[in-house]
């Protein structure tokens, strides 16, 4: 029975233009948000047109392309003298020109990658010349100049860099958007069933909690698909344009977010569905769902105002164990690495238990309000006699 209800919801919702277009647009926006700054930013200018002056000794052409970062490359144009190289830069036929001795002409700020690479190559070339004059063999010079192992930086101050912070914000926003979207879907879906009166036929065979469970499962699945697509788009885009390095905690954040998403969804989805059945019109629904929006945006605000600035503070600790807020707060704390290991499973357990408990209570209120005409309050529905 639950499966049949869920299948209907999936089919009727997933194939609706709104869902498909909404998902496509969201994915497109996310991809654009990541890809565009990288592609348009000066540092991302991957193709360098460089002018050289004839007779300049540096064997820079072969070396430069080998030493630039992987997504950069360079092409060279040779000019007769400094003056013609200079005017080529100003006219924009080349991005930069290297003139004797050791001067890089640019129009606007030079790409950091290009500048450091040329700098290093020039130093190496000078050094190689000096060492050859000192009588060293080529092999000896190569050994002396071979790059040391990369510098390892260990930050003892405990300050995190920006990336985990970004991931934490991203996880919270995704969850809020996901709950908000499916909450609205459930709200209007439940209202439609009640106002079209089809619900009386449905409950003549199915039990109200079965209808509720079917709806919640289907909507959660749809939202999971949506969020999975978004996350996959983010990771794939990032892999292609290399916009930001992913912190080590990314995998953990995804895993915790997924579990919390499911538990948090059950919690909110059940309540949103009930809110829909309490209402008798869409305006009503906005007000019966008011407390839910309040809880959800409250949790969202809490992430920004208390959890991100102080992820291990007492407020963050308390909110970790409240089912309405935990789904938004725990992924953020995991991303920041500021959560004791035992708190993650404990919070997940509390949220799941809270969600199941809510489903049960919601089932009762749902059953009491399905056949009621007009608008009910939460309190009125709780006191009303449930059907079956």
């Amino acid at each position: 029975m639950i499966r049949i209800v869920a299948m209907r919801e999936l089919r009727e919702r997933a194939l609706k233009k709104g869902y498909l277009i909404g998902t496509a647009i969201t994915v497109a926006i996310v991809v654009a948000a990541i890809a565009l700054p990288t592609l348009l930013g000066s540092d991302g200018d991957a193709h360098h047109r460089i002018g050289l002056v004839e007779g300049h000794a540096t064997p820079i052409e072969a070396e430069l392309n080998a030493h630039l970062p992987p997504n950069h490359d360079a092409e060279f144009t040779t000019f007769a003298d400094d003056a013609s190289a200079r005017s080529a830069v100003i006219e924009g036929t080349v991005d930069a020109a290297l003139i004797p001795s050791s001067t890089l002409l640019t129009d606007g700020p030079a790409s950091l990658a290009l500048r450091t690479t040329i700098d290093r190559l020039l130093q190496q070339s000078t050094l190689t010349g000096a060492l050859t004059e000192a009588g060293l063999t080529t092999a000896q010079i190569q050994e002396a100049l071979s790059a040391p192992s990369p510098l390892e930086v260990i930050d003892l101050s405990g300050d995190e860099d920006d990336n985990p912070f970004m991931i934490a914000v991203f996880a919270t926003i995704l969850l809020v958007v996901g709950v908000q979207m499916s909450g609205a879907t459930l709200l209007s879906g439940a209202l439609e069933e009640k106002s079209s009166r089809v619900v009386e036929i449905l409950v003549s065979t199915a039990r109200p909690w079965q209808l509720l469970a079917g709806k919640v499962i289907a909507t959660s699945l749809l939202s999971m698909v949506q969020l999975t697509l978004i996350v996959a788009a983010v990771l794939a885009t990032n892999r292609v344009v290399d916009a930001f390095p992913l912190p080590e905690a990314t995998g953990a954040v995804l895993a915790v977010s997924t579990v919390m998403l499911l538990a948090g969804f059950m919690f909110y989805a059940a309540l949103f569905t009930v809110a829909g059945t309490l209402a008798s019109s869409m305006e009503d629904a906005q007000s019966t769902a008011g407390p839910l929006y309040f809880a959800m945006w409250g949790a969202y605000a809490a992430v920004f105002f208390t959890v991100l600035p102080n992820p291990s503070g007492i407020i963050a600790q308390i909110l970790t164990f409240l089912p309405p807020t935990a789904p938004f707060i725990v992924p953020a704390r995991v991303a920041l690495g500021e959560i004791a290991a035992w708190q993650v499973p404990a919070s997940i357990a509390v949220t799941i238990i809270g969600a199941l408990f809510t489903l049960r209570i919601a089932g009762r209120i749902y059953a009491a309000s399905l056949l009621a005409g007009g608008r009910l309050t939460w309190k009125g529905a709780w006191k009303a006699e449930p059907i079956r």
């Binding site: 069933e193 089809v198 619900v199 009386e200 036929i201």
Partner: protein, 313 residues
Amino acid sequence: MLAVNGLTKRYGDVVALDGVSLIAHPGRLLGFLGPNGSGKTTTMRAVFGLVRPDSGTVRWNDRPVDTEVRLRFGYMPEQRGLYPRMPIGRQLTFLSRMHGVSREASMAAARTWLERLGLIDRVDDQLSALSHGNQQRVQLASALVHEPDLLVLDEPFSGLDPLGVQDMSEILREQANRGATVMFSSHQLELVEELCDDVVIIAQGRDRLHGTLDEARSAATYRNVEVRLAGGDTFTPPPEAQVISATNGMTKLRVPVATDARALITQLPPHATIEHLSFAAPRLTEVFRDVVGASVEDLEAEHAAEAAPEAGA
């Protein structure tokens, strides 16, 4: 066989059901008749577990009615409604599957019904794209698509035009003929009278009369007599008769049920030519007034005056 026994239900001070009992038999059409507000919908909802009675039982084939038993029931609520934006073919299939019928059988049954209703070329249309009359047909099909053993319809004739009433009557008769137990409610007694095999009359939350249609009609304590004599001759009615009207030569009388029709004829003037003579049990509306002591219209007006919405219709 559906057996409802002694259902009571109060909503605060309002008594919705006051000991309703009825029995519906397979292969027969039971008319559940009474004014609006007499407890018909509440009783029908109780059959589907949508109202929890304070006392009394509902049994199907001598079993208590549970979720599994209800899968074999079909219900058309008074408040009609299906998914307005779902294609009608998928909608019927879904409702059939909700009654435990397999996917393939449900799809086949949905097509069969849409063909029968002449809507097969609109199988992928949303319900809301259909005309009002066609929406009502789909609504009826949604109660029948899983071939229920018990069919319960709440005011199926309300809002139908004469053609719709005829279609509905035919389909209900067909369902009874295939062996289903069919129960429907109506507050328009004269409209459905001829369709019923059995009748239960309900007023003020209690069943007042049940039996076959003939038994119900003969429950009245009088018979209706109509006499017209050629040439507008008049006659003196017997002393036990009550004259209802005498216009255009037609005299309408009410005589006690024990009155012998032949004795009545002998009281007419011996040489008068009888143009019209009828001796009949009263119509159900009159039976109702006789049994309950108030007309359907009176009770509906009374109910509307003290209207407690949750008491149901």
